[in-house]
Amino acid sequence: MEWEAVIGLEIHAQLATTTKIFSGASTAFGAQANTQACGIDLALPGTLPVFNTKALEMAVMFGTAIDAEISKTSVFDRKNYFYPDSPKGYQTSQLFYPIVGLGSLEIELSDGSTKQIGVTRAHLEEDAGKSLHDKFPSMTGIDLNRAGTPLLEIVSEPDMRSAEEAIAYAKKIHSIVTCIGICDGNMAEGSFRVDCNVSVRHKGDDKLGNRTETKNINSFRFIEKAIKGEIIRQIEILEDGGHIPQETRLYDAEKDQTRTMRSKEEANDYRYFPCPDLLPIVIEDDYIDAIRSKLPELPDAKKQRFIDQYQLNKKDAGVISSSTAQADYFEIVAKGIKDAKLAANWLLGEVAKTLNQNDLQISESPVDADALAALLIRIKDNTISVNAAKQVFEAMWNRQGSADQIIADKGLKQETDSGAIEKIVRDVIASSDKQVQQYIAAEPDKRGKMLGFFMGQIMKASKGKANPGQVQGLLKPILDSMCD
């Protein structure tokens, strides 16, 4: 009996507004506890919410980016529950009439196939504060700086069937929200949080099994592990004849498993009703059209443009365009050195490798796009060889200076004077009589393989500085001329 997983994701993207959704306090990350929590954020008696125009704009930007229905009238509702990080005793959210309705987007999988994933809705709500459980022995400390930060909750249809599909979808949403600038996508800081709803059923069954919700996972790696683990866990239980209770779980990264979340053990009756302190949000077609027309280039369009404009292959174009930071980096380098292929190779090769090794994002790279371009230009103008360039890059990464400074300091400039190179070539040939005779004696179509020995000797003699291309251009003709 084959099992099928059914997966839906609820993604909370913190909107990159300057102030909170309902108050004029700052949303900047990293401030000292409760220094960005005004009377409204603390829910002082008598305080009232006033709605941030930028949050509305950003929600509509997202909706237009995924071609979703935009509600011309949407309403804020109160979701009532008690928790110390929720100062009003309710969260202002949107249940009945969300700002964004049905939309969809396309994901691409590793085998090159594509799939449409539906987005059920996206709505605005306010973030809660933070609870610090480990700071004091018997008390929990509450920091309300984050309380009131605008969130866009993006709910997918339960269209995904594997962890791979879920990750592709999550990454697509991540690339869209960062690309259009409504979210900084910083998962480590909590700007982009994913809740995974997972259930399993027998393949062919159209009824859904009970689902579990694993909350607040903040890295793609953990999302993948959590989903995979949850699918296995559920199948095991069902095969043993057990049943899956509908519940909320937390992912424990250390143990690589999900566990039941204690505080959510009882079902919550949220008693939703329209918030009487806020009036209906009403927008017109021209507001929506204006936002749509000002959208920056979306990841899919960017990918196609990279294929058309820079002749990148589909795979490379897909990877580079998936993040605005990467795409921008690439374009600066490509335009700077007028060589898209070289730029792409380095970005996906040396740069990506080094970033991964150091667990950094491209925005945190010590070598910025202009600096890399300055390095790659020295390859293109034959100042240094590719191998030397990798050395220079490492030194640049370790902040030892600019490309030109390092080339000079380490004496990496390659030899390009054709006279000097020719002398080295002839010297090596002259001192390699045995190999030269072998070359002459060999069949013409077998001679190519023998060039390697001479190349090696020449590079050794020139201490790696001879420009390989020029060596090649001189070596074969000289050897061949000795053959007849």
């Binding site: 005004c38 008390m139 309300l144």
Partner: protein
């Protein structure tokens, strides 16, 4: 609408209000008579009537995204029951 003691306890829990055992019956009586009163609403047919959430026929105004509130932690925490290192303290919660 018939309520019983258990209902009162459930609602009190949802509202996070402690009600002493000896007072439950009184609350039960009060709530029952209030709910009998509101049952009168069922006499009227409201099938296609749009609910009225706001008496004003107005729409939500939008606020510019500019910082207007500075750090007032010192002042606002003066009225707090328990504060340490700038954090509001509550009995420890286990997730």
């Amino acid at each position: 609408m018939a309520l019983d003691r258990q209902d009162v306890e459930k609602i009190a829990h949802l509202a996070r209000i402690n009600i002493n055992q000896e007072d439950i019956n009184e609350y039960l009586g009060n709530l029952t008579s209030i709910l009998d009163l509101v049952d009168q609403m069922q006499r009227v047919d409201t099938q296609n009537i749009e609910p009225l959430s706001h008496p004003l026929d107005a729409i939500q105004r939008l606020r510019a995204d500019n910082i207007t509130e500075s750090n007032q932690r010192e002042q606002l925490q003066q009225v707090a029951p328990a504060v340490e290192e700038g954090l509001f303290l509550v009995p420890k919660v286990i997730d």
